[in-house]
Symmetry: C2
Subunit: 279 residues, 2 copies
């Protein structure tokens, strides 16, 4: 039996479909499970029998789930080896069973799983879900926060959401992603001010700051716009390259045509310093 | 424009499908959206044209989404009126865009929406997603925490997860559900002890507590078992009814056959008190 000390080897919850009708749906369930690391599918009396080529086709290469699928004659047999079972239902039931949302259910399954318990989640028929006596075989109920005015999750969608919450419950942080964007921390003020100096010099040389008495306000505004964005160092490099290109070349004398701006050795000293800083 | 003061009237994010191929998928997208309260679907160059009877059939009565769907010739036009756009992608991209998980993205969409901004989420083609220049039209990237060894969410599944996280971001509590189980708070000790008294009396009358010196330990165990379950008052009533039936009737003289136990007026005084307490 898996233990909390060996969480990587826990199987995760079994997904149990009660009298599913369409092979396509079973396949989509397998695909949904595989996306979120679940692999144990159980079927109670599938209407069109098993195995099902339609299921395999719809599973989109989740063959390991399809191959390992087990079929049972009744629900009690399908849950016989499990310690804790959720029943999914879209409608309220009478009775003593606690009702959870999927986030809470995902966390409960994870906790039971890590304690070495075998868990499962029941999903009912496409048309009308689970009978009350089938819900009665579960420990607790899970229901999804759908729009009450349009509640029409199909079985594969319900399995997808539950599998997704299972996966999320195992993430170190809820906001973890498989890959990350760049670490874009704002550059130092020194790096930002260096861009200001270069840009303002290039603009000054073109007579941008006119009339002269408006220059302080114009500089203020320019710096405010470039400060609020919180640019990171690599972004400042991109901006510097853009400004440098605008400053040094023109449509009539583009880079690479042998014009003076093309060769830093031919630049005036002030511009040469700026050009040297580019990578 | 919707404002934070009137959140009920905000539209929520537009779902934008870029060159979707199959009408069935568009329909499943509409169904997924409707389940979680989204209604604004935009299509960029759907391969098989629009309107699509296959889409309507697959939408499973989400006709309000299908009827309001807008078609655009290019992605830039489809996002032209939006203030903030996420691009969904399963693979890492070069560039400066922040990458979010779906929970964080749902919260960001909700915050922008409540601030009166129009938002959208881009989903790519079934086969290969979004081109880099299409991702470039978005502000940030959202990616789903799928199993890296089986990453195969289809477009409707991706829309379902994003719509679900949108709905969740608007719940007062993450664990909110559309309906609740009963409020099963543990009964008072007085109610529990009353059951003990009745049960132990019924057992004593049958000679259950033998040998006599073991009685204290047997009572301890019986009370421990019935205490640990934390039964609520209505559950205690069910148990009392069960015990009472076992106590007062037998297969040979079941309730309703005119046997002495059938009529409280004919019971000995001690049993009559117990019977009076049943409802």
């Amino acid at each position: 039996m898996p233990t909390a000390k060996d969480p990587a080897k826990t199987a995760g919850p079994a997904i149990i479909l009660v009298e599913p009708q369409l092979g396509e749906n079973i396949g989509m369930v397998a695909r949904a499970m595989a996306n979120f690391g679940l692999s144990e599918l159980r079927l109670v009396n599938p209407r069109d029998g098993w195995p099902s080529e339609k299921a395999r086709a719809a599973a989109s290469r989740a063959d390991h789930v399809i191959d390992a699928t087990k079929v049972f004659d009744d629900l009690a047999s399908a849950v016989a080896d499990l310690n804790f079972v959720f029943a999914t239902t879209a409608r309220e039931r009478d009775g003593f069973k606690p009702v959870r949302g999927p986030v809470e259910a995902g966390r409960a399954l994870r906790a039971h799983d890590q304690a070495g318990l075998r868990t499962g989640v029941l999903f009912g028929r496409e048309r009308f879900g689970l009978y009350n006596d089938e819900v009665g075989l579960a420990d607790e109920i899970v229901t999804f926060p759908v729009d009450p005015s349009f509640s029409s999750l199909n079985i594969a969608q319900a399995v997808l959401l539950m599998s997704y919450e299972w996966m999320k419950s195992g993430l170190a942080e809820e906001t973890a992603t498989n890959f990350s964007g760049p670490e874009l921390v704002p550059a130092t003020k020194d790096q930002l001010h260096s861009l200001f100096t270069y840009l303002e010099g290039a603009l000054e040389a073109r007579g941008y700051f006119r009339p002269e008495e408006k220059k302080p306000k114009m500089v203020d505004n320019l710096r405010a716009v470039l400060t609020r964005a919180g640019f990171a160092e690599p972004e400042l490099k991109v901006l510097r390259g853009i400004i440098s290109s605008l400053d040094r070349f023109s449509p009539a004398m583009p880079r690479g045509d042998g014009s003076p701006g093309d060769d830093p050795r031919r630049l005036p000293a002030a511009r040469k310093r700026a050009a040297d800083k580019e990578s």
